[in-house]
Amino acid sequence: MGSMKSAFLVAAITTIGIVGLIGAPAPALAAPKTKLTVDLPNDVATMDPQLQWDTDSYSVYRNIFDNLVTRSTSGKIVGQVASSWHYTSPTEIVFTIRNDIRFQDGSKLTPADVVYSVKRITNPAFKSPQLSQFDEITSAAVTGPNQVTLTTKTPYPVLLAQLVKLSIVPKAYIEKVGDTQFNLHPIGSGPYKLSDWEHGVQSVLSATPGYWGGKQPFEKVVFRVVPQDATRVADLRAGVADIVRQITPDDAKALQSDRAVQVLAVPTERVGYLFINAEWGPTKNVRVRRAIAMAIDRKGLISALLGGYAKPVSVVLTPASFGYPTGIKPWPYDPQKAAALIKAAGAEGATLPFLTSPAYPQNIIQAIQQMLDQVGLKVVIHQMDQASYLRDRQGTPQEAGSLAFGLWSCACQDADGTIWPLFHTGSIWSKYSNPAFDKAVDEARSTLDVKARMADYHTAFEILRKDVPGVGLYQAAAIYGARRQLQWTPTPNEAFFIMDMKWK
């Protein structure tokens, strides 16, 4: 009996083995993959495109919605829902709206939807975190068949750059179901529609049939939530994920030896900077702030901790944005001079609270701490959860601590979206006030004259260099890991449009 049993077992194993051998090459012969799996570090905060604009949320929802205008892969602003536009006066701009776009519920996208989208996001009661990007718009109206006119308070040069982020939402649907239902079951006019959203696990998008912008490269896209950097990289290596967002420079280096994957990196408009409180504590003294600027070894930070992926910047802005000045030199790295300056200012051994949260790169913060300790300051890191950190950082000068590290992007590629909120008197981020600076950046945001704006920003950055309410450190790189077969070029504004990707 026993021998018969084992003979049967051997036969069974052999059969499975043979079947396995035959089966093995099958996946390679199968039709090209129609599913794309993406690993994101965080879950989508909301699917409502007008409520949240963190990078993970908009990586997903911008594939569900179309924007009024968009940026081409080369960075130029081109039409999307609007086919063309022209200024009728410095404060009035007329958009022609395409008439062949349909929402995913079959209804037609009309100029009324565009007007509704603008009014919804600019309504203060709606409390959109993007409000400050659009509040220069005072009115939106349908002014003809397929025509929408936007009016701004003053001539507003950044309008088009901001409108790149204006997703067009369906008026009739939202008015029928309300904001909460719309967030859970969004309907847009984009290439993909949401078919499933498991909070904290994944969101699944499927291609909209008959999309006006052309055929989608994948039938189905799965965005998975994978918070651990190491796990995202492991998923990529194992082939579980086809593309992963946000990998560390260290992992990028390690991935370079893997033939099945590729590292896609692009310098972004995101600037790594050190905030210095000019209105409270030891850093109230401008000499201390200058000393801090001279104590930081940008190049050392970049080559050691960022694997050379980032590029040094001379101001708190990146060259990917309009207004980046030429000819302004940063304070030179000179620890001896910095130490002497601190001694002269009587700030030797002064305690500087450095506010931060686990959301920021710890190694960079601790390296900065050591660099400042070496020139005679005493930097104390206060690590909090992100919500408490933001509360204090945006609070009064007393609450904001002496230092903080930030990675800033306005997704508008313009100096107005960076130095205005960071340093203008009265802004929640600003712990600094200089009327001359305020005048320059206010003027730069209210003229359409490109040359005059450039000159204003040059003046503004010269003032910032002198006053040092912050130090520009580096232009951050967006680093993605992808299967080698995936063809895609990442952009400086960190857009994640599935339509731009395809299998080779």
């Binding site: 950097d229 260290d250 686990p358 390296a367 690590q383 909090m384 959860d385």
Partner: protein, 278 residues
């Protein structure tokens, strides 16, 4: 394990003594300054030698600090958190339990309902909230851990006090004119100390793990000062490329928690009168 003093328990005590010894002497025995960064020598594997800086026996971390020095120095923070937070919660929990068990009535009702409430709140949530409100610091960390854990001792102390308070010798002491504080401290406390000590030993390991959890969330020991939890949380992104950053502090944590739990096991048997009479 029986209550007898075996070679096994001697080994455990010995190991714990080494831990304490290393923690106390940390500043004098670390081979490098645990805070000193050498960015050019970051993420080096164990047994790295650099002609300028010397040996890095356990390798270096992500900003080029000596891992061995950080693990040794981190023992201080981790063990101190364990010992201090257990003391705080043991002391406050026992006092409340004793009072509730002795006076009974409305005092017991109030205390035990507070205990129920605190126990029903997830401890990690309460800790995150408290640190968020009070701000992160070593004293607050101890306070938080003490505040969230005292009910465990109160429950035990309360039940034990109720039991002991009805025994004839307590009645006798009362009739002899002894005051409540004297009875509680001299006659009841020694009789309920055994079970409380056992709870304390299991809590000790938990507290160290808890601090590791809070460090992991960025709320425990503040950088750049090391604790085992914070070293591991800094190493979490390098598990694949620099395993040593998480493995070595992990082994230390595992060792001390295991030792203390085994010690608690042994104490329980030793202090249990029935086990001894067998």
């Amino acid at each position: 394990m029986t209550g007898r003093f075996t070679p096994g328990i001697a080994a455990i005590l010995g190991l714990l003594a080494i831990y304490v010894f290393v923690a106390v002497l940390a500043p004098w025995i670390v081979p490098h300054n645990p805070l000193r960064q050498i960015l050019l020598l970051r993420l080096r594997p164990p047994l790295t030698y650099s002609p300028s800086a010397g040996w890095f026996l356990l390798g270096t971390d992500d900003v080029g600090r000596d891992l061995l020095s950080r693990v040794v120095d981190g023992a201080r923070a981790s063990l101190m958190v364990g010992a201090l937070s257990v003391s705080v919660s043991l002391l406050s929990g026992t006092v409340f339990g004793l009072l509730a068990g002795w006076f009974r009535g409305w005092i017991a009702i109030v205390v035990m309902r507070i205990v129920d409430i605190v126990l029903s709140i997830p401890a990690i949530l309460l800790a995150v909230l408290t640190v968020a409100v009070l701000g992160p610091s070593f004293a607050n960390l101890i306070l938080v851990l003490g505040l969230t854990r005292w009910p465990r001792y109160t429950r035990v102390a309360y039940a034990q006090t109720l039991q002991v308070a009805t025994l004839p010798y307590i009645r006798a002491a009362e009739m002899a004119g002894a005051h409540a504080p004297r009875i509680l401290l001299r006659h009841i406390l020694p009789n309920i100390a055994g079970p409380l000590m056992v709870v304390a030993t299991t809590e000790f390991g938990l507290m160290i793990l808890f601090e590791a959890g809070l460090s992991f969330l960025g709320l425990g020991i503040q950088p750049p000062y090391p604790s085992w939890g914070s070293i591991m949380s800094e190493g979490q992104n390098y598990v694949a490329s620099a395993w040593w950053m998480t493995v070595f502090p992990g082994i230390c944590l595992f060792g001390v928690v295991l030792c203390v739990n085994l010690l608690g096991d042994w104490l329980r048997d030793r202090l249990d009168p029935r086990a001894q009479s067998r």
